[in-house]
Symmetry: none
Subunit: 209 residues, 4 copies
DNA sequence: GATGAATGAGCATTCATTCAT
DNA sequence: CATGAATGAATGCTCATTCAT
């Protein structure tokens, strides 16, 4: 079940993964059969097992790829001198990333309650995101502009929650009431609220007009 | 499939519903069989069908009850003169409500991607929550203390998102990194960040110390 | 499971039997549940078993009554001196009898292939009918008017078959192509064809050896 | 659920159909489970569904084949110049056909009361048979030899009824009292009675000795 | 006599997975 | 590498039947 030897085999494997992402997005994980995945990749069900030991392992494989990309994301620092722009842009990029992989985020949400392994992957990734944010808040010049009565870890969790759920609603649930707005406005509003919310009262913490 | 005629029957029906909430919380919707539900209520599988046509209908019944309670919740107004306390308390109560029914919120999240009916129930309820918040923001004395550069509907969606996902993480996923904190702190921090985040820059909008 | 003691009980039992005949006619035996029978008699399923040990026994009970009536029928002799009228009338009466109990004839047909007991009841009754006919043919003045090249038992079976299947088509299957005709025409045509068919070519020629 | 791709698959499908015909003949439709059919074809129950969506559809498939054969049958004309031989032979062939497919005729009879689709198939086929007969009676030289007081459609229905029920009794119910006779005698007697029965009184209408 | 509750066996159907070709 | 066939375990659901009240 290692990487296929021939280029053709590698192509087939990639097609299965692409088909999975597509079908999961359309119908959710539980409503996709191995036979559907295989058919969407131009195969019969039996052939699927030449590439993945089972549906669950294929899913983990997809999530592993997703995680790699997510962690690259996390490595991008938040710029202290123009925090509002930096957070806005970072949020915006995250939204785009989320949208691109909405199928997988959907799968994560669908399965985390019953699949400990997936729950763990998600938890790890969330913690990394939160850590990145709270890290930025405690470093250098930023720290002094933040109100003293807040638990920064908690504040980071709140930002993360707001971001993640807004994205879920918009890209996975595709709630039209939410999805109708320009995405840029959402990113900026989110960043604005949160940054203003954690800033100390002095005018210097105000976001730029 | 109507209401049971005898007290015994009503008790059995209630036991099935209670068992469902318990088992859904433990294992998630997909991993609970009709036979499990029946057994947890002290019955054989066949008897289940005297009370509900199938697992899905039982779930809708539970969600209907949940919705009723949620809408009572929404009717409680946010007090304009002590917004921070009012939002804190309201958030806190919502967290308690969410925890009490964490199984059902988990089911909603698990199924919304594949079950249009449940997705609709959730969307309706979310919209009502958001409307309640944005309604409070546009009324009377509150309105003038809010920064002018925000879309209030969007701001309301952000508060709702933050609240809902924080609760989901804490009560459904039971992420220990999040669940360890005093709940009161979470409620207050959430309310504080958001209210400060939407307030206009004048000192009068600042939360009380 | 004997006859109920009270008049009320006897009434209930009769109602169940009437309901069975009605429901069997509507939907066929296999599509009628014990609960349906009970409900149609104004009872719950449990109460059914106070009157009959099971659905099969109820059916046999109905068929026993039918058989009694059928045998009374068979006892009526065919009049030799006006055979055509006699056969016509007898056929007509049989058609009326069949229509009145079309539900039970339907049940007999539906179950005879898989229920040996019912098959036996039917076979016995058919034999009696055929015997009555062939008996009439071999008696006295009739015999000499019948062609000599026929097996009379076989001729009797043919008459019986024609009668029974025509009735089945018309009253059980309710084939509109068949049911549209005046019943009297059918009775007379059937009798005419058959009697002419078995008659010797001229009154004097070819008496039976 | 299309035609199987390999010879092995086609063989399996054919084996299921053969097994069905055999088991239906033995026990009747209602007493045959999908698992029985599969087992009789050397399969597990699950494999059945690769070939047919359910037992009912398999049955319709069998009946479709039967209908095709029946309609070939109907196309054979009845020869006017030796009507008695022609009808005898035709009847005889029909009996052989009926015997060969006695299982399916049994299923038709068992299900027609509760299955409208099957009832319709049967009705159509009966009408075709009757039409063939009455058609022969109204054509050319035959017409003038038939008594004027008969409704020919009705006469055709009578012949059909006699034929069908005699066959049913003999080949499906396997009534020993009926089945003991030489089949040739039955065919000839049936044809003789009916043809003599519908003939006008002139000697020319008499069947040949 | 009747009810409503509960049982338990029976059966259909789905689907991940294996395997010979 | 891929197919088509087959397995077998799960699981949902129905319904005749029993029983306490």
């Amino acid at each position: 079940m290692v990487q296929p030897a021939t280029p053709k085999g590698r192509g087939t494997r990639a097609r299965i993964m692409a088909a999975a992402e597509e079908l999961f997005a359309e119908r959710g994980y539980a409503n996709v059969r191995v036979a559907d995945l295989a058919a969407a990749a131009g195969l019969t069900a039996g052939a699927f097992y030449r590439y993945f030991p089972d549906k669950h392992e294929l899913t983990l494989e997809l999530l592993r790829e997703l995680t790699v990309e997510a962690f690259e994301f996390i490595r991008i620092p938040l710029e202290a001198d123009s925090l509002i722009d930096s957070v806005t842009e970072s949020t915006h990029k995250y939204f785009e990333f989320y949208e691109r992989h909405r199928a997988l985020f959907g799968v994560i949400v669908e399965l985390s309650q019953s699949d400990a392994e997936i729950a763990e992957i998600w938890a790890t990734s969330r913690r990394a995101f939160y850590g990145r944010i709270s890290g930025a808040l405690t470093r250098g010049s930023v720290a002094e502009r933040i109100r003293g009565d807040l638990n920064l870890d908690l504040a980071a969790e709140m930002l993360g929650s707001m971001t993640e759920f807004y994205a879920f609603q918009r890209f996975v649930l595709r709630d039209p009431a939410v999805a109708g707005r320009p995405l840029g406005e959402a990113s900026r509003t989110l960043a604005t609220i949160w940054l203003s919310g954690i800033a100390s009262a002095s005018p210097s913490a105000e976001p730029r007009p």
